[in-house]
Symmetry: C2
């Protein structure tokens, strides 16, 4: 069977399974999630054995120690996956909920009911545990999912997928609700993103190259973000102490993720009090500062920023810093170079806090808090499958509710249109 | 200037204008809408003169009388456009509203705020009054819009666009908030749907060919429906009187629209009481019935349905009819041939009414009411810019709220991520 035919069969099976998932009760879904957790713990030696095949091939291929570390499944990772499954089981089921109904003058009772999206194609390059996390969120939200992981994790992903399928079977849920694509061929991605009759949404997670490829070639709607070029604007009214704590946390706590700070904008009236101290703290943590000319005058250790630094997502201990003459200049800079991901203002000025919240066109805008809070779990969504910086469907972190849509239901008593 | 460059300039202008629209208050937007209404009435002779150019060219090109009728702008159409503008002005402004905020354990106050999508590309083939309706809904929801109408209406659309722009100018709103593409070249569509950095969403309205072309080639997300193959299932418990009234209304009241009935499914236990009477009523109204073998046995005037009739959107006084042995057979038929647009059940059985609502995967599902109610205005959304049968963003009719998205705002007091 060709890869195209295989993927089409998988997609049709997923669509058929999704029909059964629509009306599953919460208890049955949670039962499956808890069985999945049990399976992972019970069969961890099998998982380790398959994972060793991936690690061995990756070692032969010369993957970096950091990559090998990401690929490794050990006791701690298995335990974390099992805990994640239990956490998703504990979250409310969004399916079937209604944000409300209303009565029309002719007596029709009209309302929206939350329903699953249907079939989700999830394409990722990350650690194999994403297989389990994504499957859990899709199942709980009533969606069938087709998972295409990175080629370096194929044995691990297939082993995990097999256990998930067994748990579905034992819980009486269609097994094709969770399917792992059993090939490393890129053609599988091409096939999956072309099936707009069977697949309702594609969610790609990984490097910008993968995501751009999917976005440009998909005939299925794509929810994605390319990168997070996150800004903090330190206003002249900011508490220097608070600004230092938040800017340090946003850049240093986990520099390799999309909600880490990449460009710091400082009002000129705050610069001399704030920047030299801040820079010392950054430099002690190994952060390289790339500054505008006014920053260079205040921060001796900084190097001159070039035009390519302003739109850069460093994902590393590197920070671009610019002194601005006004908040409007900061807003213009964010509009020009930002990625509509996460932006924060540090201020004690009421009017400017409100204006920043209103005018910054990003999925999460914060006042006096770290950019690192753009995360489904941190914002209270329970868990997230990714962050979307396109405006359509769900702008920002996507939790269970964002994996659903609503349909209209209408209760009539014989009404016809006049 | 090439068409590509012209469209890119328009899109950049729209994006710049959309920044100004984000924080416009309701009063200023409503002022512009009312000025637009005034402009149309004041300058109707200019509109008629431009419309005559289109009508003359259309007559030379041999357009059908029905097409010429759709193209004609007269006193009544101008009055209806002005009334439509006033109605949109009277609707609530969705921008800036919040469905609610919540407090996190660390004290962060988190909420969603409704914001405009940004720039909307609206591509349509319909009457020139759609130019005004779409501009009104986009402006009220804070979006900039680029309008590409049918080539046969180019003079009318440009005349309307010029008046809308004047009203924006007088209301102190960026004029580029509403732009009509001043060319009939198809290359303009190709250019517009490629600008994913400037345009946030494309909404195509027109024939299936146009919509498929846009959906397949757009790099910008598309909200659309291809067609409405709407079904009614008449259950064995249905009131024959109610079923007849609703099935007649759904098919006959306006057969050329997407929410008109195309296939009638009848439970075998209801068929002999219901179908012969229903068919008489249909035949008296000129409806051609294409039936399954069991329908043919009950309806002498019917012709035999072929496989191509089941997925057909007739948009005419033609109806496919099938007798089914169970509701599950009806559900399977809808799943196989439906377009996820509008489906209704006529029943007096509680359990089956609930199961039909839950299991039919369509944007609007009705019990004991006409399919013709799938319409933003009829459902209480105030007005609609179109109906979306993709699950993403807004499934079903799209009103003002569906032309917005939400971003997260976070009020902190110095919180950092542990």
């Amino acid at each position: 069977m060709s890869i195209e035919n295989m993927i089409q069969t998988m997609a049709r099976d997923a669509k058929a399974a999704s029909r059964g998932l629509r009306s599953l009760g919460r208890n049955q879904k949670d039962d499956a999630l808890l069985r999945m957790a049990g399976k992972l713990l019970e069969h961890k030696e099998t998982i380790f054995a398959e994972n060793r095949k991936d690690l061995s091939a990756a070692g032969d291929a010369g993957l970096s120690p950091a990559m090998l570390d990401r690929l490794t499944l050990n006791e701690a990772v298995i335990a974390a996956m099992a805990d994640g499954l239990k956490e998703v089981a504990a979250l409310p089921d969004p399916v079937g909920e209604s944000p409300g109904m209303w009565k029309r003058p002719n007596g029709l009772l009209v309302g929206r009911i939350r329903i699953p999206l249907g079939v989700i194609g999830f394409i990722f390059e990350s650690r194999p545990n994403v297989t389990v996390d994504a499957a859990a969120l899709c199942l709980k939200s009533g969606n069938a999912v087709i998972l295409k992981g990175g080629s370096e994790a194929i044995h691990s992903n297939m082993a995990l997928g097999k256990l998930l399928t067994e748990a579905l079977h034992e819980a009486g849920i269609p097994e094709k609700a969770v399917q792992v694509i059993p090939t490393t061929e890129r053609a599988a991605v091409n096939a999956l993103i072309s099936l707009d009759d069977e697949v309702d949404v594609i969610i790609p997670r990984g490097g910008e190259g993968l995501i751009r490829f999917v976005a440009e070639h998909s005939r299925v709607p794509v929810l994605k973000h390319y990168k997070g070029v996150c800004h903090i604007y330190v206003d002249q009214s900011a508490s220097v102490k608070m600004a230092k704590a938040i800017c340090f946390n946003s850049k240093v706590q986990r520099p390799g993720v999309c909600n880490a700070l990449e460009t710091l904008l400082v009002h000129e009236d705050a610069a001399s009090d704030f920047l030299p101290e801040m820079a010392q703290q950054y430099e002690a943590a190994g952060v390289e500062i790339r500054g505008c000319p006014r920053t260079l005058a205040l921060v001796p250790g900084a190097v001159a920023a070039t035009e390519s630094d302003w739109p850069a997502e460093f994902l590393d201990l590197v920070l671009a810093v610019k002194v601005v003459g006004s908040m409007d200049e900061a807003l213009d800079h964010i509009e020009a170079y930002g990625s509509q991901h996460t932006e924060a203002i540090i201020t004690n000025d009421y009017e400017r806090s409100q204006r920043f919240l209103a005018q910054v066109d990003s999925s999460v805008v914060l006042v006096n808090a770290s950019t690192r809070f753009n995360d489904g779990s941190q914002l209270g969504l329970g868990a997230e499958i990714g962050i979307n910086t396109s405006k359509l469907h769900a702008f920002g972190p996507m939790g269970l509710e964002e994996l659903t849509t609503t349909k209209f239901v209408v209760y009539g008593q014989g009404q016809i249109r006049e």
